[in-house]
Symmetry: C2
Subunit: 245 residues, 2 copies
Amino acid sequence: MPRYKITIEYDGSQMVGWQRQKEPNSVQQYLEEAIYNFSKENVVVHGCGRTDARVHAYAHVSHFDLDQTYPIITVINALNYYLRIAKIVVLEAEIVDDDFHARFKAKARSYQYLVINRHSPLILEKNRAWHIISPLDEHKMQEGANFLIGKHDFSSFRAKSCQAKSPLRTLEQIKISRDNEKVSFFLKAPSFLHHMVRNIVGTLVYVGNGKLQPDDVKDILEAKNRAAAGPTAPAAGLYFLTADY
Amino acid sequence: MPRYKITIEYDGSQMVGWQRQKEPNSVQQYLEEAIYNFSKENVVVHGCGRTDARVHAYAHVSHFDLDQTYPIITVINALNYYLRIAKIVVLEAEIVDDDFHARFKAKARSYQYLVINRHSPLILEKNRAWHIISPLDEHKMQEGANFLIGKHDFSSFRAKSCQAKSPLRTLEQIKISRDNEKVSFFLKAPSFLHHMVRNIVGTLVYVGNGKLQPDDVKDILEAKNRAAAGPTAPAAGLYFLTADY
């Protein structure tokens, strides 16, 4: 029974998130229906991680099992044919060992968060970025972000609804860069808590606009209290980048 | 009678191009109507250049005259309020001397053309790039492109419908770069012929995929014949970048 690993790109702006739910338009449902339409097999697709409604992905990884073995190019082209009704595309596919698991075998996940920092409303980046008018100091944001690198209790940056057993996570990298009006946050960790990236970005934006000082990030982390941190950044600016195995 | 210079961004994917025509949804018409709604003055907006249907712009420049003098921030915010029905936004505005002219005083114009070079259909870059499946060699494309730098008769890259008196143009820069699947063309010249950027890109793609050799670009240029060159690249991948004064 071959196991297929697929890497997909999606535009989350009109979707309810990765996970199948009562409402239609989840990435998981679109994938499972496309796999059924192609193979006539009912499968569960296991993702490397859930993304919230309106979050995008450049290279999200998932896996599923089929009874039949198909050539890889057939899997890619057939799924993309049935996925043309959704804003999802399969970039790569491969047959992997039975012990591969998109979620449990992922060693690291990385995200990008995009802010457009300018006066005027967004056009080309609409639904693809967080529009922030007040000037942001990316150097101060990086200074604050550096307190978060390493293994910490991230309770201050964890959504109420987070189902993880432990609030301990290891943030391997957080890098903030600016290209004119585009301010980009790159984060990498073995795994993240629910809303962790968006809560970190929301807090760092408070550092960038001067509401907080870089040193305050240390205190916020140590408070282990969601109320101590800044707001949750909007979903539209968040991109799942890759999972490493 | 103050003259206003404005810099705008637009998503051309659902527009008929810069110039006002019988069909609605031109950039010029949207701007002129927004200016009327704001000032109750009927004006003609003069652009630094026309763009075709579905072409985008990051910083297109135009000008218009009003009887009244308004604070710049009022002009920007009022126009953006009325432009919210369109995929156009005013980024900057300023009051300029009477001898300023968006078209006739522009010393240089620059464009970007974006190709996504991969097997799978586009999602995040849909309507924003040319999707090309066959592998492109960006070094060979640059080698071919270098024959075009300087002052030449660009008849081979000129649309039939081009209204310019002379086919002579001076291409100051053409630079091709790759970032994974993204292949980007940057072109700068005092002015361009109609479809010149798209015809150059369409020809260079033939060099990139091996249908032509880099040296062939020299022969195509010297042929001064549109039939000698490659196809016109689709509008969706083209971005007007800036005009210099």
